[in-house]
Amino acid sequence: MANPIWKDYFIDFGDLDSIIYRISYEEDGEQKVIFVGKANWRPGTESNRVRINDICADYLVTRTPDLVAEDVVMNTYPEFLVEIFIEDAGVWEDVTTVIFTPDWSYKTPSPLVMADPIRKTIDRRQTFLHSVFLKRSVSYTITGLHPITRTIDINGSGTISLQNFPIQAAGISIEGMGYRLVNTCAEWVVYYVNAYGGWDSLIIEGNVTERDDLTRHNISLEHDNGIAESRGKRNYVNELTKVYTLHTGWLTDDESSRMHHLLNSTNVYLGNLNDGRIIPVVLTGNTTDYKTYKGNGNRLVDYTIEAEVAQYMTRK
């Protein structure tokens, strides 16, 4: 049974006082040690315990799939081995093994479902993404007049990306979840890692604006005032920060309740549905409002998201 990474997970060393322990996982056939610590018995407690979920969190890797082609990428959610050092014998002794899921939902129990899309609608031009946790294979059905069912072997945890759906297709059914294929006028789609560590997407149906923030660097120099092109002040470099402001369009209360998956995400890409560009961005918002119809004066809710392009630009 896998444990959500946000939930404190303790290893109990019993009555062993001041014991050296280490955590490792298997990588390329070898056991890779990620941490060595010394556990001391906390006064007033019944046994010597250490919390390891925080240590292991950095080693759960959700890889980015190809966002413009069909792809399957395997993620790394390893089994962690905890050992203690037997000083007299000079050997390491196994204590336990632990599996964590990259689940930052702070919900109990962990759903072990890695997809939780905000709208469940897919633009025909975009890439469809679906992530799974520890599966041997995944079946999906392209629904419509002539449904097609396919199976992808995955043998572990990973993300499937699908493209180029038949024109008559109406949707995708995968692991009991149905997506609707739609034709929109939208220019942008957002791909993001949700709170469960899986990939989802959201079509941006509202307006999108784009701007550059500039930082100018100037220098004052000696100059000859008899020569027109001789400059006393020179703007020798400008730094550019490109910012997109995205308006989601109207959302229901149910859809709004899942906006935290996007707004809290640390891994977001903008996809241009017209030219296929994929732009890594960083969201700059510092709050996530859980908006509702009633709380918004009996009006549908929408969100404004500000995203900075995650690459540097200068002009010299």
Binding site: F35, Y59, S220
Partner: protein, 919 residues
Amino acid sequence: MIALFRRIQEWFLHLFKRESNHETMKRRISLYIADSLVELDEQSLVLFNYTMEDLSNPTYVKNSYSKQITIKGTPNNNKIFGEFFRLDRTIEYGGAAGVNFNPMQKTPFTIFDELGEILESGYAKLDNVKCVGADVEYKVSLYGGLGSFLYELAYDSNGQKKTLASLDYLGTDNPDAELDFTINKESVAAAWMDEEDRDAKWNIINFAPAYNGIPEGNFASNKALVDPAAIGLPSSQGAYTTKEGYTRINLVKNYDEWAVKDLRSYLQRPIFSIKALLNAISNPQNNGGYNVDFSDLEELPQRAYENLWMTLPMIPSLGTYKKETGSLSLVRDASGYAMPYIGKYHIEGAAPSGAEMATNLNVRMTTFVPSVAVSELYMKHTNGASTAYAVYFLQVFAYDAGGSEIGRSKIKCVADINFPTISPRQMADVLKFTAGENDAFEGTYTNSTITRIAGDTYLFNNELGFSIDAVDVAYYQIKVASKTALYYPGSKTWTYNYVEQGVLWTPTTERVFPREYNSISGITPNSVSYTSGETLRSGASITKKMLLSTEHSPADYLISFCRVFGLHMLYDNTTKTISIVTRNSLYDDETFDLTERVDKGKGIELSPFLFDSKWYDFKAESAGGRFADEYKSIQGNEYGIQRVNTGYEFNSESKNIMDGIVYKNAVTILDKSPYYTSIHEGAAFKPSVFVDLGHTQTLWNATKDETQLDISVIQSTANVEYLNEDGHEGYDVEFGRKLELRNKDNKAISGEGVLVLFEGFSYYPYFNLTDDIPAMTALNEGTPCWLITPGDADGIRIPIYQRYTYAGGGWSIANSLDFGVPAELDIPGIIYRDGATIYEKFWQKYMRDRYDKDTKVMKCKVDFKGMVVSQELLRKFYYYGGSLWVLNKITNYSLTTYDPVECEFIQVQDKQNYLNGQR
């Protein structure tokens, strides 16, 4: 209202954001720590500092370094530092990065630019880690490669300070023994051969004849042995005659080696080649893997590279001079011992023969019980009316190389009761324990706990510390013996069961005694050290470690060498090469125009080139000596000092800018005495010391009784030839000028650390190179003394090592190791040429340029766009405001932004003073 407040708030936030973005990272640099790419935050400014020299002391060696940088605790960075922020984190093995990251060790770093070129490399130091909530920040300082290189030359991997003995000089299979030799006249003669003919080790170490004064310690410098027939003395008188072919001369006073023409092998001053040091330093195995380029020194004047040597301590002082601790260790042998011995240790590291080793050995005893049942062991066992106690006796023995016992510790007694000890002799009788007459117990240790540690092996609670002193130890063994004592509480009596028995074990009804014992090392570190009370003499084994276990490290010697001769160390990041260059090579004759690079808007600060003292002195610490002491008392300054008047009129203080260098100063003289003669009376050679009245001659009869015969003073008709054939009668051989390492009482001074130059060979007629001989044991009560049987008329050839090289047929000093010209010399008829001193050759032009009243210091911000900013920029000339400048310092150069850089420039008066200032 709320909306207005929010707008104002947003405006402030926006304003703040703009300000904080002013210096954002836009250049793409890649920082690798221990070959792992660091994720640098956009606010992580990597600011580097480069300095050519400390303006208050131009001789200091400067390393590039970064301002402390902040590295964010991303998962990737946390892995590099081994999750150092976790409080319970420990280091399993110690290493460069990851779980083995050790903040106590230097961790290598490299910074690449966008083009993949290396901007900087060296080592990183984790200063501290700050955790605020989930945000972790690592504060790290980066140091250029030069510091790492010097550190490698100063400390070994265990943090122990390196000495000259730590370096591999010859690349042999056994570097620890590569320079070992036996001190005798054959070794010295072999060392004094021409360089191309002698063994390679004599190019590393050699011997410099010097005026060392009268030998001290175990040497009778007022006695001499001689074949009487060789100097015209009677071989017998009545029943008295010579013994072993010698008569003993009882000299009227103490004489030195030059007076008696007897150069004893072990009284020749050992010296060490600076060229060998530099070659060893350039060996990557000695310096942590750096390439070192000394090729520029081949152009160095004064042959400072090729022919420079340094004096070492005299061999007789080595025994008492050294007390080794760090270089010696006790190593436990895995096998080679059997019951009743339970541990064997040998000494790792060289010690002089005759050295008394003081050893502290700490062990815990173990015992093995054949596996019969799961049981516990006890130190006592009650059975009926009596209680049986197991009692152990342990002792450490020392053995020589032949396996003979040469020392023993006190006996330790272990029991679970304050056992009434019997005497060691009683114990020896009963337990076959070879206790000596003077053996003594060292108390009883109660031990009520024995712990099973693995299988059926049990560990005793006590850690036992043994102290033992013995001479010429090859190895140690720990011996154990056991007995059982029965105590009857009813009668309160003891009986001793004198059989070899041991610890009891239960729950069997019958007592079974384990018979297999062993020991493990204790927690307290073992130690071994020695002092050698005997002075070393002919035939002594001299090891590399004895001779070169210097107080200072190879790095100290290298830095001092560079400081003395005005040399600079350059570090090439890309090839990991350290180049030692002269100032002539340091500066490139290339001038950059700063007119369109200096940011006038940021301000320009000008200041005069001010000193902090009126006088800058160039001087090394004096090794002392008769003339050096006289010179100082008369002249008020040290011999060879160079004083520079800086023109600073705000105080009258002096500052020695060579303060801290490890090399010492000494005086070269030509000695004068009545004994620099060759005297013949008729055909008979006469020792020159016979010009003094009062010597006697000893002969012996068959019953070893002595008779003393007076020796007549040399007749006025004798033929006296002076050794000095160049008109300075009474002086030493004219071109045999040597270091004076004796005081006004003609007693030796320590005299090590003095730089000398090789200056050819001189011949000394009738002199001998000798060793102690067995006859000294019989004829002079075992005390070494002079041998004055004359040598060949052609004499012996000795090398001349002193502080000058000469021109003009040997009559003028062309190159000197003095910083300045002394006011007087103790060498007759010699001329000190202009431009011969270290100051004149290496410093004068440069210092004058700096001291010029027009020289200014300019600080300003410079835009180095299009130029690679590194140490290399400090080697160029710059034009600004109609003046020529050199760049002395780049402060907080950002490797990640394009901002103008704060620079410090020194005005140049004449470029040639930099480009050709060293002659």
